[in-house]
C-alpha cells in the first residue's frame, strides 16, 4: 500500500478518480459508454477526445520543462499548423484526396519543424531565456496564423482530413488513438533510449551535464522542435475536429493549460525529473474539470472561482508538505486531549 501511495502517479491519478466520481453524482450515467452509429459514445470518450490535443501539447511541453525551459509558443503553433493545412486543402483541386492530405500534413509539420528550430536556436545557441525566446513566436505566430487565414475561418470538407481529429477507427475516435500512439512513442523514445536520462541531467544540472560530455545545445534545441511538432499535430487535430481553421482562436491559452498539466503531473518547472504518465493524467484532470463545469452546470460567471478552488485543492492534496502537516495536526489534536506534559520549559528558541 505504502509503495502505491509513494508512486509519483498515485496522487494525480487519485485526483482524477475523485473528479470523475464527483461527476457521477450529478450525471448518473456519466461512466456509461454506448455504441452509437458504430462509434463509442459517452462522456469518458469525450474527455479523452477533447483532451487529446492538450495531451499532445503537454507532452512536448514536458520535455521542454524537463530541460529547465518553457515553451509559450505552442498555442500559436497550433493555430499556424491548422491554418496551413486547411489553406492547402481548401485551395487544392481535390480537397478529399489522399495526396492533398499528405501535402497538408507535410506543410504543417514542416513549418512546425522550422518554428521549433527557431525557438531551439534562440534558447540553446543564442542563450536567450526560454520564456522570452518563445514569447516572440507566441506573439508573432498568432499574427502569422491570421495572415494565413486572412483573419477568416477557413472551412474545409475533406474526409481524410476530418479523420485526424473527428474521425473514428475501430469504433474509437481516431484522435484518441493518435495521441495514445504519440504518448507511447514518446515514452519509448525517452525511456528505452538514454534520451530521458540525458534530458533530466541537462535540466537537473546543466553545468555538470556539460562536463560529462552531454551535447546539451543540440538536445535542448531538439526538445523545442519536438514540442513544436506535438503542437502542430494538436493543431491539425483541433482544426480537423471542426473541419475549419480559426487563426484567431485556435490554441488560445493552451500553453497555460499545457504547463498546468505538466505541473499537475508532478514535473517540476525547475527542470530535471519528468513524468510523461503524470502529464497525461494532468491533461485529463484539466479536461475532466472543463467537462465537469459543463455537465454540472456551473454558471460561466463562477466557473473560474470553481476552477481556482479545484486547482488549489488538487495541489494541496498532492503536496507532501500539506499531508505531513495534516497528519501532524491530527496527532497533535489527539494529544491535546490530555493535559500538557509538565516539561519545565518548552520554548521556541528565539521565537
Amino acid at each position: 500500500m505504502k509503495a502505491v501511495t509513494r508512486s509519483r502517479l498515485f496522487w494525480p491519478a487519485a485526483v482524477l478518480a475523485v473528479l470523475l466520481v464527483a461527476n457521477l453524482a450529478f450525471t448518473p450515467d456519466f461512466f456509461a459508454v454506448h455504441v452509437r452509429g458504430g462509434h463509442l459514445y459517452g462522456s469518458l470518450i469525450d474527455i479523452l477526445h477533447f483532451g487529446a490535443p492538450l495531451i499532445l501539447v503537454a507532452l512536448g511541453m514536458t520535455l521542454v520543462i524537463a530541460t529547465g525551459g518553457i515553451d509559450l509558443s505552442v498555442g500559436s503553433t497550433v493555430a499556424i499548423s491548422g491554418a496551413l493545412a486547411c489553406l492547402h486543402i481548401s485551395e487544392s483541386a481535390d480537397p478529399g484526396g489522399l495526396a492533398t492530405l499528405l501535402g497538408a500534413l507535410g506543410i504543417a509539420l514542416g513549418t512546425a519543424l522550422l518554428l521549433g528550430a527557431v525557438n531551439g536556436l534562440l534558447v540553446a545557441k543564442a542563450g536567450v531565456q526560454p520564456i522570452i525566446a518563445t514569447l516572440i513566436l507566441m506573439v508573432a505566430g498568432r499574427g502569422v496564423a491570421q495572415l494565413i487565414t486572412d483573419g477568416q475561418i477557413i472551412t474545409v470538407t475533406s474526409d481524410p482530413y476530418k479523420m485526424i481529429g473527428g474521425g473514428y477507427w475501430l469504433t474509437m475516435p481516431f484522435a484518441i488513438l493518435l495521441s495514445a500512439a504519440v504518448v507511447l512513442a514518446t515514452v519509448l523514445l525517452t525511456r528505452s533510449t538514454a534520451l530521458g536520462l540525458l534530458l533530466e541531467s541537462v535540466g537537473g544540472n546543466p553545468v555538470a551535464s556539460r562536463l560529462v560530455g552531454i551535447r546539451a545545445t543540440r538536445l535542448v534545441a531538439l526538445v523545442y522542435v519536438f514540442s513544436a511538432l506535438c503542437a502542430a499535430l494538436a493543431g491539425l487535430m483541433v482544426s480537423s475536429n471542426v473541419s475549419a481553421a480559426d487563426g484567431n482562436n485556435a490554441g488560445l491559452w493552451i500553453e497555460l493549460d499545457a504547463i498546468l498539466a505538466v505541473v499537475l503531473g508532478g514535473t517540476s518547472l525547475n527542470g530535471g525529473r519528468f513524468s510523461l504518465g503524470g502529464t497525461v493524467l494532468g491533461a485529463l484532470i484539466i479536461q475532466t474539470l472543463s467537462t465537469t463545469v459543463y455537465t454540472i452546470g456551473i454558471p460561466p460567471e463562477t466557473t473560474l472561482v470553481f476552477k481556482a478552488f479545484v486547482v488549489i485543492a488538487v495541489c494541496l492534496i498532492q503536496s507532501p508538505a500539506f499531508r505531513a502537516k495534516l497528519a501532524a495536526r491530527g496527532t497533535r489534536t489527539r494529544r491535546t486531549t490530555r493535559p500538557h506534559a509538565a516539561a519545565p520549559t518548552n520554548r521556541e528558541v528565539g521565537a
Binding site: L137, G151, N270, T302, A308, V311, P320
Partner: protein
C-alpha cells in the same frame, strides 16, 4: 575600494547599458521614420500610458528575483478596478476609503499565495495561476458588465495633467516612478532586498545561512500583490472603469518587461532599473506600431514579434561578445 572592484561592478551593469542604448536607438529610428515621433511628449506618454504596467512589473521583479513567478497580477489588477468601481459607484463609498482597502486586499491576497507556496511547498506557477482564476472569477461574480466610474475624485485623478514646461505628465506616471524609486531602494539598500537576491541565488543556502526565508517569500508575493492592486488603482484612474476583462494577459507583459530588463527568470540576478527599461521597450514598440498606422491586425502582431526579436537578439549578441 580599488579600481578593479569598480570595474567588476561596472561590468555587471553592462547588460543594463546595452538595453538602454538599444532603447535609445530604437527611439531614434522611430524619430527618423515618423513625423511627430521625436518629441518629449511621446516619451512622457510612454510613462503615462504604461504607468500601471510599470508598477505591476516592479512587483513582478521582486518575485522573479526570488526565482518565483506571479501569474495572478493581471487578474488582481482587474479585480482591483472592479472592486473600486463597484464600491465607489454602486455603494457610494468614498475613494479615500476604497483605495486603501483595495491595496490591502491585493497585499493580503499576495501574502496568502506566498504563504501557501512556502508552507505547502507548491510551485508558484500553480498557486498564482489559481490566484489568477480566483481573482478573475471574483470580477465576474461582482458583475460581468463593465462599471464606469463618475466619481469626481477619480475623474480628477484621471484628468489632472501636471505641466512640465510645454509638456505634461499624469499623476499616475509620477506615482509609478515613485514606486520604481521605492522598489530600487528596497531591493538594493535594505535587508529585505538582499534577502530577495539571496533567496533567488539558492533557497537552500539562504535557509542554512539563517535568513528569514518564509518571511521573505511571503513578503515578495505580498509586494507583488500590493503592486498589482496599485496598478489596478492606476488603471482605474486611466480607464475610469472597472471591468473583469481589463488587463488580460498583463502578466505576460510584466514578465516580459522584467526579463527583457535583464532579470534572470531563475532568480538571483537582475535590476529594477532594467525592469523600467523593459517596460519602456514594450511601450515603445507599441508606440512605433501606432505611429506606423497602416498595419493590419495581423501585421501588428508580426511586427511586434519581429521588433522584440531584433531587440532580444541584439541584446544577446552585444552582451555575449564582451570578454
Amino acid at each position: 575600494m580599488n579600481a578593479n572592484a569598480l570595474l567588476t561592478r561596472l561590468r555587471g551593469q553592462i547588460p543594463l547599458l546595452v538595453t538602454a542604448v538599444l532603447l535609445v536607438s530604437m527611439f531614434s529610428v522611430g524619430s527618423a521614420q515618423y513625423d511627430g515621433f521625436f518629441s518629449g511628449q511621446v516619451v512622457l506618454n510612454l510613462l503615462i500610458d504604461n504607468a500601471f504596467l510599470l508598477v505591476v512589473a516592479v512587483g513582478m521583479t521582486f518575485v522573479v528575483l526570488t526565482g518565483g513567478i506571479d501569474l495572478s497580477v493581471g487578474a488582481v489588477v482587474a479585480l482591483s478596478t472592479m472592486v473600486s468601481a463597484w464600491l465607489v459607484e454602486q455603494h457610494g463609498w468614498p475613494p479615500l476609503l476604497v483605495i486603501p482597502l483595495v491595496l490591502l486586499m491585493g497585499t493580503a491576497g499576495g501574502w496568502l499565495m506566498g504563504w501557501i507556496i512556502h508552507v505547502f511547498e507548491i510551485q508558484p506557477f500553480i498557486v498564482t495561476l489559481a490566484g489568477m482564476f480566483l481573482a478573475r472569477g471574483l470580477c465576474y461574480t461582482i458583475s460581468v458588465e463593465s462599471i464606469s466610474i463618475t466619481d469626481p475624485q477619480y475623474t480628477a485623478m484621471a484628468q489632472t495633467r501636471i505641466p512640465l514646461g510645454d509638456l505634461f505628465v499624469s499623476p499616475s506616471a509620477l506615482i509609478a516612478l515613485l514606486v520604481v524609486a521605492a522598489g530600487f531602494v528596497v531591493l538594493h539598500h535594505t535587508r529585505l532586498g538582499r534577502n530577495v537576491y539571496a533567496l533567488g541565488g539558492s533557497e537552500q543556502s539562504a535557509l542554512l545561512m539563517g535568513l528569514p526565508v518564509q518571511r521573505t517569500k511571503t513578503a515578495v508575493y505580498a509586494i507583488s500583490g500590493f503592486c498589482s492592486a496599485l496598478g489596478g488603482v492606476l488603471l482605474t484612474f486611466y480607464m475610469l472603469s472597472g471591468y473583469g476583462l481589463h488587463a488580460v494577459g498583463l502578466e505576460l507583459d510584466a514578465i516580459a518587461a522584467v526579463v527583457i530588463g535583464g532579470t534572470l527568470l531563475t532568480g538571483g540576478s537582475g535590476y529594477l532599473l532594467g525592469t523600467l527599461l523593459g517596460v519602456l521597450v514594450l511601450g515603445l514598440i507599441q508606440t512605433v506600431i501606432s505611429f506606423q498606422g497602416t498595419l493590419s491586425s495581423w501585421w501588428t502582431r508580426i511586427v511586434i514579434g519581429a521588433l522584440l526579436f531584433v531587440f532580444i537578439v541584439l541584446q544577446r549578441l552585444i552582451t555575449a561578445r564582451r570578454p
